[in-house]
């Protein structure tokens, strides 16, 4: 399961203005220690494409299980935007 970090640069037109960048760098955000009562699932691109193309319910369930296992293993997935 790919979990390596790939550094990507925001497109030029979305570059963060320097004044805001400075403030964000010192910005402290507190993420919840406990995930709360609402669940969510995040998807790997390959899993997502396969899951969406598949009409096989068992395959979808397998993917959901894999995603859950991935989360437990410390992996997290992000969506690709075209």
């Amino acid at each position: 399961m790919p979990t390596k970090k790939t550094v990507t640069q925001a497109p030029k037109e979305l570059a963060i203005p320097a004044d805001l960048l400075r403030s964000f760098k010192t910005d402290i955000r507190f993420l919840p220690v406990n995930p709360g009562t609402r669940g969510y699932i995040m998807f790997d691109r390959a899993m997502l494409i396969a899951a969406l193309r598949s009409s096989n319910i068992d395959e979808r369930k397998t993917m959901a299980t894999q995603l859950e296992a991935l989360g437990r293993a410390g992996g997290e997935l992000v969506i690709m935007q075209q």
Binding site: P2, T3, K4, K5, T6, T8, A10, P11, L14, I16, P17, L20, L21, S23, F24, D27, R29, F30, L31, P32, V33, N34, P35, G36, T37, R38, G39, Y40, I41, M42, F43, D44, L48, A51, L52, I57, D58, R60, K61, T62, A64, T65, L67, E68, R72, G74, G75, E76, L77, V78, I79, M80, Q81, Q82
Partner: protein
């Protein structure tokens, strides 16, 4: 132009990552429930019969699927008790699966009167990808814990990922801890148990005096994750979060609109640029509260906070009309919107607000 992002690891010190915005949408199927729990935020119960019409559900699901060419992946079905009307649940799940949405369901497990029956029922609902089973002292007055055990075992046997959802007014409460331990013995993995603090709204507003909250003088500093997933109610109202703010109806910044008046795309696009909603996701209600204090609105703010719970802070803060008025002015402020838009890019790697607005 490709605005691509790739995989990134979680910080090992961090147990939870920000959920992506609006990839998961909730649909409240019904207000009906076998239980009329004292803490229920929407006052669900056996006497409630309002539910989404199949016609509306089909229309909304198709719009959800079409939104930004398949942007939304998961439809979370909740209530009330979604299994109350099995015919409706099956029909809605069929539509959602046909529209290639993955489905999660929240339930109290009343239907799991035996393990065999529970397993057969889940096997007959193959569209379910993820299930959340609610139980606690309040639910257990109406739904025997044995049913919950059967539901958990059935989900496990069917290979359906699940977690058990608990609520309490205080995690130090011995009765809560007893229930927690019973569940832990069953599921073994504490990651599969999620605990929430009871919101003092809905039916729980009537038991305010009986709450045994652990209070402190400063709000919990955590960011809001619930507002990453909007929820649709049977009458078409859409809220940015299914927390206690729904009790403020449309008089609050996380009321996103009505599907009876606007299409899904219009409401969700507006949510993408809702600066208060995203400020809560970025910095949480405690930060918003600090801005209000700095702005001299302190007299309208709560002074006691439930430990470890951001929802009570958010609700108490937004319950005051003067606060809402100040926030309404703030959300028009160009500099604030710019900060939120770029904050999303920096902290959440989300460019949606920048793509829509000009900052």
């Amino acid at each position: 132009m490709e605005n691509s992002r790739s995989f990134f690891p979680m910080d090992p010190e961090q147990s939870v990552k920000d959920p992506p915005f609006m990839r998961n949408v909730g649909l409240l199927l019904t207000y009906h429930c076998q239980a009329s729990c004292a803490h229920c935020i929407i006052r669900a119960g056996p006497d409630r019969h309002e539910e989404v019409s199949l016609e509306d559900a089909r229309d909304w699901i198709e719009q959800i699927t079409a939104y930004r060419d398949g942007y939304i992946y998961v439809l979370s079905l909740t209530g009330g008790e979604p299994f109350s009307n099995l015919k409706l649940l099956r029909a809605v799940m069929k539509i959602a699966a046909e529209n290639k949405l993955l489905i999660s369901v929240v339930t109290n497990g009343f239907w799991a009167t035996s393990q065999g029956k529970a397993k057969r029922l889940l096997q007959s609902l193959p569209e379910i990808c993820f299930i959340s089973i609610s139980t606690d002292l309040y639910h257990q007055k109406f739904v025997p814990f044995d049913n919950v055990k059967n539901a958990i075992r059935a989900a496990r046997e069917c290979g359906i990922p699940f977690y058990v959802s608990l609520v309490t007014d205080n995690k130090e409460d011995p009765d809560y801890q007893r229930v927690y331990q019973e569940i832990l013995e069953l599921v073994e993995d504490p990651e599969q148990i999620r605990t929430g603090i009871i919101f003092p709204v809905g039916r729980a507003a009537e038991m305010k005096g009986d709450m045994n909250y652990s209070l402190c003088s400063e709000p919990c500093p955590e960011v809001c994750q619930a507002s990453s997933s909007p929820c649709i109610f049977p009458d078409g109202r859409v809220y940015g979060c299914i927390g206690p703010l729904i009790d403020l109806h449309e008089h609050q910044p996380l009321y996103l609109g009505s599907l009876k008046e606007h299409p899904v795309a219009e409401i969700f696009d507006a949510a993408e640029t809702n600066p208060i909603l995203h400020a809560l996701r970025l910095w949480g209600p405690a930060r918003v509260l600090s801005w209000l204090r700095e702005a001299g609105v302190g007299d309208h703010l709560p002074t006691a906070f439930v430990s470890g719970d951001i929802c009570q802070t958010c609700h108490a803060m937004l319950s005051d009309p003067a606060v809402r008025e100040w926030l309404h002015t703030l959300e028009q402020d160009t500099e604030f919107r710019r900060k939120v838009a770029y904050g999303r890019l920096y902290h959440l790697e989300e460019s949606g607000m920048l793509e829509v607005g000009r900052y």
